[in-house]
Amino acid sequence: MEAEILSIFLAYLKAFAVGGGICLIAQIIINYTDLTAGKILVYFMLAGVVLTSIGLYQPLVEFAGAGATVPISGFGYLLANGAMKGAEKGLFYAVTGALTAASAGVTAAVVFAFLMALIFKSRTKRN
């Protein structure tokens, strides 16, 4: 029982450290360059794709769990992983694999954004 609690605690700690670390790297890049949020998201996603395709991201996911999948680089991991798995099945799946794997995220973003737009209005800011 104690061992199980310890392992859960460790999992949270790892998720915190790795996820926070990825954000920290992004923040350092933002501080020292003038990259905007949109560019940071694209670069980190691409970094996820590249690292996954050369086999470096998978160990990180196994180590840190949500710490590696929740940042946008995890989205890249999902895409590349889908493409790599698809490639084993043939040309058609090699091409469609990436977006198939990411379909949940994209669908959720579109549907929820639509619903929020139905309900909410943007509001002006004071600070």
Binding site: A26, P71, F75, L99
Partner: protein
């Protein structure tokens, strides 16, 4: 004194401006990004455990986790909370998947005044569209490379 003809003065001026810049609070920014980013990942980990207890596993588990996180991101954006977190946390709230949700939802809410089709729907991916475009394109390349290797 008009700038264009005096390239040299320009360069001096830009260097001078750099010396006048207010200091960026590196330590505070980085700490906020690390803390908030890590916290959001811990929420992700918590959702993973909960869904795991509910009997989900594999791709279904990973997909459902990100769907729930995206929902949280969208909702906080709609409530007008996420931009406040972002103002404070910087990359800590941009880089997690909730930041992606925020970048889809914020233009959708913002531009619905220009109509549902050309406003809300068309502008929805003004920021996040780049992620989909480069993601799909690089994914296809990875797939093709693996196919022919």
């Amino acid at each position: 004194m008009t700038g264009r003809t005096r390239e040299n003065y320009n360069r001096n001026y830009l260097e001078y401006v750099k010396t006048q810049d207010p200091p960026t609070k590196h330590f505070k920014n980085c700490l906020a990004a690390f803390g908030v980013g890590g916290f959001i990942c811990c929420i992700g980990q918590f959702i993973r455990y909960m869904l795991g207890y509910a009997g989900l596993s594999g791709d279904e588990l990973a997909g459902s986790t990100s769907v729930i996180l995206i929902f949280i991101g969208c909702l906080l954006t709609g409530l007008g909370v996420y931009d406040r977190i972002g103002r404070y946390a910087g990359a800590g709230s941009i880089v997690p998947i909730t930041g992606f949700a925020n970048s889809v939802t914020s233009p959708a809410i913002e531009f619905k005044t220009e109509g549902w089709i050309y406003g809300m729907a068309a502008k929805m991916f003004t920021v996040a569209g780049a992620i989909i475009v480069f993601g799909v394109f690089s994914g296809v390349i990875v797939g093709l490379v693996y196919l022919f290797l």
